[in-house]
């Protein structure tokens, strides 16, 4: 059983890292195609270019062979630890998702969730929040005022939006009656009125919108990429180079994967395939495939948003969070609670 858990964790890790590399390619190509360009297509292995699919590898090689620069008055240990903390906590989140339900095989039930925690949702949100430490640490440790300011700016944004993130999923969590992510997926297996899958997106459309917005902001993607904005704004990673900088970039991708996975789990039915009840090992594979497909779809949509919207100003950003998303998501939560209360015949806590 230990081996099985290790295998699942390895799968989650592989999914995170592999997908992060792949997303680098998707990002380039998608932006290129929608802007009538061709996009990166030069990297080749033995003359095979494969639509530029090798570019992430070339990028990684470039990052690894670049000078790893640490400024003279930087705090060395923290400076090195910061990107690892950012990336590490983001990757840890991926272990908490149910990539599939329990599968019967050889007389035993094999769960397809690496870490089966009854408070998975809180776990993921908490680990995501810990990523802020990496950012503040990076800004503080680089011994540069610009870096410090960038780090604080990043922290202000991420903390504001983490509040929104948590309050926007409160509604769905209340409906599912559990913080367990597996429970949430199982709950969404039922049908509403016999034909509509009871996915969170249909029960909580407002919650979904707010969640996606807050999620995009937490992962620091455009239109909310003020903490970094590599080209225009001096962010928390000014003093970083080489693979440490690469790790910050990867953190972004991994965090978007986590947010998308959360969106899939809570709002898009998780590993559920509508009208089909998968069973057995092949069913397990189908569940994982369904989860991954939905994950890719959400990521694709987030990318598209990224390449569509211009960046917000910082005051607009904070306004959006504290004055709009937070009150709306709280209202949404209150409405959900009342809705559930009346639907269950006035027995709020059963």
């Amino acid at each position: 059983m230990t081996l099985w858990i290790l295998a699942k964790v390895a799968f989650a890790l592989g999914l995170g890292l592999g997908l992060a590399g792949f997303l680098g390619w998707v990002e380039r190509k998608q932006s290129a195609v929608l802007q009538d360009r061709v996009g990166a297509n030069r990297a080749s292995i033995f003359g095979i270019r494969l639509l530029g699919l090798f570019h992430p590898i070339a990028d990684a090689l470039k990052m690894l062979t670049k000078e790893d620069f640490v400024p003279r008055n930087a705090r060395r240990v923290l400076h090195t630890a910061a990107p690892a903390i950012s990336l590490g906590f983001a990757l840890l989140c991926l272990a908490a998702f149910p990539y599939g339900g329990a599968v019967e095989f050889a007389g035993k039930a094999w769960s397809l969730q690496p870490v089966e925690s009854p408070a998975g949702l809180v776990l993921v949100l908490a680990l995501l929040s810990l990523g802020v430490h990496g950012i503040v640490m990076a800004g503080y440790a680089s011994g540069s005022n610009y870096g410090l300011l960038g780090g604080l700016r990043g922290a202000a944004q991420m903390i504001s939006y983490e509040v929104c993130l948590a309050s926007s999923v409160a509604g769905v969590a209340f409906i599912y009656g559990s913080l367990d992510l597996q429970e949430a997926c199982l709950w969404q297996g039922r049908l509403l009125g016999g034909w509509l899958p009871a996915w969170g997106i249909f029960l909580q459309p407002v919650g979904f919108l707010l969640f996606l917005t807050a999620g995009a902001a937490v992962t620091k993607r455009t239109p909310f990429d003020l903490p970094e904005g590599e080209a225009e704004i001096v962010g928390y990673h000014v003093e970083y180079s080489g693979m440490k900088f690469g790790m910050f970039l990867m953190t972004d991708f991994v965090e978007s994967i986590v947010i998308s996975a959360l969106a899939v789990t809570l709002f898009l039915g998780g590993w559920q395939i509508p009208f089909v009840a998968p069973a057995g090992p092949w069913g397990g594979a189908a569940m994982v495939a369904s989860f991954t497909a939905k994950l890719m779809l959400v990521l694709f949509f987030l990318m598209q948003v990224r390449w569509t919207l211009p960046r917000l100003r910082f005051d607009q950003l904070l306004d959006l969070s504290w004055k709009n998303i937070l009150p709306l998501s709280l209202l949404n939560f209150i409405a959900t609670v009342w809705g559930v209360y009346f639907l269950k015949g006035g027995r709020l806590w059963r």
């Binding site: 998608q30 195609v33 929608l34 009538d36 360009r37 598209q304």
Partner: protein, 174 residues
């Protein structure tokens, strides 16, 4: 005199614009349209069907560079009928050049009507900023920037200097 007051209304946003969502959706429609139209064009072309180009990119080193009709490219010195340079070594171009990259030495011209002609005429294209002032300044229209050549790089600074025969096209560069 009476002061004319023109009230200028503040730009204001409608409710629809203020909630962002509708506008975000419209923006997404545009980008999604581009994405899917281009994707289908790429796909159709890759299987050999007739379709317009999916991208406006010129794959430069493989495909030739597309230069504008009036693009300023490498300099060219024009010749007289007998093959001697048309330049009369007036040094106007050398004087006006902001990059100070033209160097001319003069000699007597066998033709008394011309008096002088260039003995050497060097342009250091490594310094040239392609402003075109030299062309403007020349009183006898001896220098043009229409060689339609932009691949001028070389491995040393010395090789960036173009000499008289090279500029006149009598000798190939390098």
């Amino acid at each position: 005199m009476a002061v004319i007051v023109r009230p200028v209304s503040r730009p204001s946003r409608t409710f629809r614009e203020q909630i962002y969502l509708w506008e975000v959706w419209r923006g997404l429609l545009v980008t999604f349209r581009h994405l899917f139209v281009n994707l289908s064009r790429h796909a159709r072309r890759s299987v050999g069907l007739a379709a317009p180009e999916g991208a406006v990119t010129v794959q430069y080193p493989e495909d030739p560079a597309v230069l504008g009709k009036r693009a300023r490219t490498r300099h060219r010195l024009l010749k007289r009928g007998d093959g001697s340079p048309r330049c009369t070594s007036c040094l106007l171009c050398e004087t006006i050049c902001p990059a100070k990259c033209i160097h001319i030495t003069a000699e007597d011209s066998p033709d008394v009507l011309v008096e002088k002609r260039a003995k050497t005429f060097d342009i250091d294209l490594g310094l040239c900023v392609f402003c075109g002032y030299c062309v403007e300044a020349c009183p006898v229209d001896a220098i043009h920037m229409d060689a339609n050549e932009v691949e001028l790089s070389s491995y040393s600074r010395k090789d960036m200097i173009w000499t008289l025969p090279e500029l006149m096209g009598d000798k190939k560069k390098q």
